[in-house]
Symmetry: C2
Subunit: 447 residues, 2 copies
């Protein structure tokens, strides 16, 4: 057991609340601060890509007995449904039989997590703005405005779970030797909506992640519990086929009729939603170190914000907690070494999922419609079925295993090199499932 | 001519003062703000690697008639003097006959630049701390402390020339789509001193940049006007042979006796200076965009802070001004497009000199003592002398030309590939200046 500490968690998002539950279960006093009102008391709308929960996230929930409650509000998603043209849909299963990811509403999930944390004995302080943290004492400063009066609250340890624009990290960033980068994609996103049928059923297959891949832009749809789908349009901010280029109702309607003709029947409020909903930005944020002695630590998006194309933002944040829990088990009260080991073991994996997520935009928006890529996936699946012990596809390593992300990335790169060799073989389109191909892969795997 | 504007320049360093002179010459009202006291009224000591001024910097000074005054306080440096062992010194000339760089004291130069700017009609506001800038109006906010009372001053345009930890950039950083990175090297530095002889002469050759390359650490010395040398010890912060490993007087004296035995006679105050002077950090900072409409622009270290190993920090900052001047000539009063073209044309070159500077630590600390590298340099020089129109060495492109840094880097990489091929030739050590080698290079250049 650890000696009980008084711990502040800044941020009542998904990672902050789950972290609070873990800390509370270890006997600590846990106070969670958030600058926003209690999410259970407000209407949540708008900004937020639907969440995808996969094995890493499920494990973190299961270890504190919360997986069933959370999965109860999720919709299993077993495949990609690729809308290549009008009425042409290709299906790509994510894993083997029964392997699924879960579509979740961020708002619903967050409400549930706050409930569960309160039930576990965590105290919440909403509409309390944390502006500063003293890195040597973990004391936080709270006030109405950045330049107004502040009061202080003393803690033994403060966690920054306050997201990509973390105020706690902002303070750490002023130290020497603090590495930091924020890089915006030129791709933005906007939410649209596919409402439920009159009888409450879904207009599209609810167990698919729907993609309309169109090169440098794409539309995506994920099912909600109420029969609706949240759609997300990913597109460059400027240039050809960009948010900037869609200024009028006519331009918008033409654009959708040209590129997404099969959505006309299912997105009735296109024009209203498009011009009402904000265009949001996508950023990759990296930093190091994540901790300061035994006093302050960052977790989740606050230390590794990633783009959403692998669906791993929450999963990576929840896995931070799994790793932290292992460290608490291992180091007990030696918090300085505990946090040091946490950041060092976790950082390469955070960098790896950032890279994988960045690359996946290309895969989703272009490659899913590319014959060569589809052939590659087909060969991989065929070989993997024959030799499951020799070939686990990258997506499965990332999504259906707990292998460290950095290892998954390295093996995935090696597999891709092998497949590039295989795709160069003569008549590969016809002979893709021949013994020759099988032997070639076996030989390359040994090299 | 441009219509006169009221312009604020934040930062009275080298780039801020030279920029102010350029703006003043164009008829603008120019106010320079600095949080520090007037550098002409204080003793400057300690932190600051000696400056190196080369052709890009000289050009920016010459274009406003200031080159002779500045070169008058500089010492020409024509070569590297590589101290490989006791009394063993290899010399590497930087360029062709007469091509030199200049060693300058940052403090002396900065005082002179402020004098020159005042003479040109620039107004200075020292000990005025700028905390904020309104990006849409260029209005700056000034006050005693970050959280104290602020007063505002209105301008038409505000330049941030406030260095690597720029407050103006800090404000821009809060926008969406602002890319930013700061990356610290694990190499730190500390200043030491070689005093003048009793008669005021230099203890070492004053026209050399002295290097004691020792793998992952090195000592460097640059001459000052008063007969002394400023020495800089570059070394990892921690690990073997690090600042952290030198905690006691005995450890320090042993370390210098082992690695720099020939410095004992010339650095009398080693122990006192080492423990008195701070260990400083080295950071590479990149960002984009550099400007906000026609209201706010960054320049110099504020938008591209680099490590000092190519001696180009000030030169790159001064070249920013040369480019800005070309844009003022070209665009006149169209400041929005003027600043847009400035940032777009300058950014790739800022990235290139950052990369070159980062790489040069390896060259200075290890490669200058490496037989293969010395052979490469010898072949390059020999070929370049024979075919000056076909081969300008990278160092000369960067230091003795005004070719954009990005082009110099790209050509340098190509040249290095060629030389790696050449070094693989049979008996290259004996035949380095043979016709065969000459033909090989000529052939590779055509490829």
């Amino acid at each position: 057991m650890q000696n009980p500490k008084k711990i502040a968690v800044v941020g009542s998002g998904l990672v902050g609340t789950l972290l609070a539950i873990y800390l509370k279960k270890r006997g600590h006093t846990v106070h969670v601060y958030d600058r926003s009102p209690d999410i259970r008391k407000i209407n949540f709308t708008g900004r937020s890509i639907n969440l995808v929960l996969s094995d890493r996230g499920v494990k973190a929930l299961r270890d504190v007995g919360l997986d069933e409650e959370v999965l109860g509000i999720g919709i299993p998603v077993e495949k990609r449904a690729i809308h290549t043209g009008v009425d042409t849909v290709n299906e790509q299963f994510y894993g083997k039989d029964g392997e699924v990811i879960y579509s979740l509403s961020r708002g619903l999930l967050n409400r549930k997590m706050v409930d569960l944390a309160e039930k576990a004995g965590v105290e919440f302080f909403f509409e309390e703005k944390v502006w500063d943290v003293d890195l040597t004492t973990a004391t936080i400063s709270i006030g109405e405005s950045e330049r107004g009066e502040w009061k202080t609250r003393d803690y033994d340890l403060t966690f920054g779970a306050d997201g990509a624009f973390s105020r706690i990290r902002h303070k750490m960033q002023r130290q020497s030797m603090f590495n930091y980068s924020q890089e915006f994609l030129n791709i933005g996103y906007k939410e649209l909506n596919i409402p439920a049928n009159a009888d409450g059923t879904h207009k599209l297959d609810k167990n698919s992640l729907h993609i309309w891949p169109r090169g440098n832009f794409m539309l995506m749809a994920l099912a909600n519990l109420d029969g609706s789908f949240t759609c997300t349009l990913f597109m460059p901010h400027d240039g050809e086929n960009s948010f900037e280029s869609l200024k009028t109702k006519e331009q918008l309607v033409d654009f959708f009729a040209n590129h997404f003709p099969d959505t006309e029947a299912v997105i009735p409020n296109l024009v209203e939603d498009f011009f009402k909903n904000p265009t949001s930005y996508l950023v990759t944020m990296k930093c190091f170190p994540w901790t300061f002695s035994d006093k302050v630590a960052l977790i989740g998006d606050a230390c590794h914000a990633i783009v959403p194309f692998y669906g791993h933002g929450m999963n990576a944040g929840f896995e931070d907690i799994t790793v932290l829990e292992q460290m608490m088990e291992q180091y007990g009260d030696d918090w300085a070494n505990l946090l040091n080991d946490y950041e060092n073991s976790r950082k390469p994996n955070a960098d790896a999922i950032a890279e994988l997520s960045y690359r996946n935009f290309l895969e989703m928006s272009s490659k899913t419609a590319d014959a060569n890529f589809l052939l590659q996936k087909k060969i991989e699946k065929w070989f993997s079925d024959k030799h499951p012990e020799l070939w686990v596809p990258l997506y499965s390593r990332v999504t259906f295993s707990h292998q460290p992300y950095a290892e998954a990335l390295a093996i995935g790169d090696r597999q891709n090199e092998i497949m590039q060799e295989v795709l160069k073989m003569e008549n590969i389109v016809e002979n893709w499932n021949s013994e020759k191909v099988e032997n070639k892969i076996l030989e390359l795997l040994k090299a």
